[in-house]
């Protein structure tokens, strides 16, 4: 069995990368991975619906963090995808025999070590399998405090779940890590891209504009959808913002932690002050979630509460527009 240390993290993708990198002798804390990989984002996509509810995401799409991070640091990743479970498991066993931990995509529905309440059909959860014991696979799930185990059958199911997106047994591991790398340039690339995407994409549905747009639409939900559905849609926004894997306030705190770490690393006071502003924005989003949670609990909607919620979200949008504009200026003018 590989000599593997597991560290808990807030977000699954950046956590897996952080844990894999540590095994390969490069110590990156989770926020560092998340920031360099430009994980923070916002998008509201009313034309894509999951169970009839429009998609709201506080982050970039799955897989991107890893890709951007490895590109910027210069890590070579081997990615594999399989058409049949037996090949997938044989390939996994082969890697494990070589003592190599392997990251993979799974469906949360079949990971029975998680509390039942979390187990919906979410097919883009990242875990690391790092060994075998008593016929079970040893799993390092980044959102868990400790490592766990999973049976062969469950793992096959989780790796070959159907639906959107299909994991198709995808697995990945670094094959070459750079001896030397330019962390400073990687950090600035990450910061520039995040702030650029948050403020400068000329589309109304993404970035800070997307948040403002959602605020506007949200005000009309009770009239447009009726009581029951409005509450459901609101509940979904809270889940996307606060549920597992977000680190609180829809990833804002993780990114603020990243800026905080960067300010120390690069000795840049400006980044620390922006980090503090982002913390405030995160707090505001938490207030929004708290208030929205109360509305959901009472199951009563009226146009006034939703208007207030809309105002809260719009205030967040304005604040983030200002924060990321400033961050963009800082990253350009350095």
């Amino acid at each position: 069995m590989a000599d593997f240390t597991h560290k808990q993290s807030a977000h699954c993708e950046s956590g897996v990368v952080s844990n894999l990198m540590r095994f390969h002798g490069m110590d990156f804390d989770e926020p560092m991975v998340f920031g360099v990989g430009s994980g923070l984002f916002f998008s509201y996509l009313p034309f894509i619906r999951v169970n009839g509810i429009p998609v709201t995401a506080y982050r970039i799409w799955p897989g991107q963090v890893f890709k951007r991070f490895s590109d910027r640091i210069g890590i070579k990743i081997e990615r594999k995808k399989f058409s049949n479970p037996r090949d997938a498991m044989t390939a996994l066993d082969k890697m494990l025999d070589q003592g190599q931990p392997v990251g993979m995509l799974t469906s949360v529905f079949y990971l029975n070590y998680l509390p039942a309440a979390y187990r919906f059909h979410f097919n883009a959860h990242n875990i690391i399998v790092f060994g075998k014991a008593n016929g079970n696979y040893l799993v390092s799930d980044p959102v868990m405090e400790y490592t766990t185990e999973i049976s062969y059958d469950d793992l096959v199911r989780a790796r070959f779940a159907k639906g959107m997106p299909e994991p198709s047994g995808r697995m990945y591991y670094p094959v070459k890590v750079p001896g030397e790398y330019d962390i400073e340039s990687a950090i600035w690339k990450g910061i520039t891209q995040t702030s650029d995407h948050m403020t400068r994409i000329p589309m109304p549905l993404v970035g800070a504009k997307g948040m403002k747009y959602l605020a506007g639409r949200l005000r009309k939900w009770p009239d447009r959808l009726g009581n029951r559905k409005a509450i459901q849609w609101l509940g979904n926004v809270i889940r996307m913002q606060e549920e597992i894997g977000t680190g609180g306030a829809g990833f804002r705190f993780i990114h603020a932690a990243f800026l905080d770490q960067c300010s120390v690393k690069l000795n840049n006071e400006k980044l620390f002050s922006i980090s503090q502003q982002l913390t405030k924005s995160g707090d505001q989003l938490r207030d929004f979630a708290y208030y929205a949670g109360r509305v959901c609990k009472n199951r009563k909607t009226d146009t006034r509460t939703f208007a207030e919620l809309g105002d809260m979200l719009e205030a967040c949008a304005q604040r983030e527009q200002a924060i990321f504009s400033e961050l963009y200026e800082v990253s350009r003018s350095r």
């Binding site: 959102v143 979904n236 680190g247």
Partner: protein, 139 residues
């Protein structure tokens, strides 16, 4: 969020298996890692999503009692699946799954097709066709 403000709400759905990691600030505004066992708004939102699922299961059971749906519908709802998702697991198309939710067509299913559905839901075939056990279930 200050590290003292990280919520620790006892009422949660984590079954004691999970304490999530949060990033919170210390006195100087620098970030530290803090574990949290739960937060009410999140629990409410999650419970609400499950309420929707449970309602649908209940509706399915009612339909089965009235003889208007086959046990297949119950298992689809119970596993939070959709017709299309079940179809892709069992190697058929959504329309056929919809058809098999009607008792008339369900009764005519071949053993092979039943096995495919049973495989999808990870249950033995007997359970799939056991009407009594499902209708006893109170949702």
């Amino acid at each position: 969020m200050n590290k003292e403000q990280v919520p620790q709400d006892q009422e949660n759905l984590n079954e004691g298996k999970l304490a999530k990691l949060y990033y919170a600030t210390d006195e100087k505004g620098h970030y530290v890692k803090v574990n949290s066992i739960g937060w009410e708004p999140e629990t409410v939102a999650m419970q609400q999503a499950w309420d929707v699922v449970n309602d649908e299961v209940k509706d399915a059971v009612d339909l089965i009692r009235k003889g208007k749906a086959s046990p297949l519908l119950y298992f689809i709802k119970k596993n939070i699946m959709t017709h299309a998702l079940v179809a892709s697991y069992s190697g058929t198309v959504g329309f056929m799954v919809r058809l098999h939710c009607i008792p008339f067509f369900f009764k005519k299913l071949s053993k092979k097709q039943l096995e495919k559905y049973a495989y999808t839901f990870r249950i033995p075939v007997e359970e799939l066709t056991n009407l009594e056990k499902i209708t006893r279930h109170d949702g």
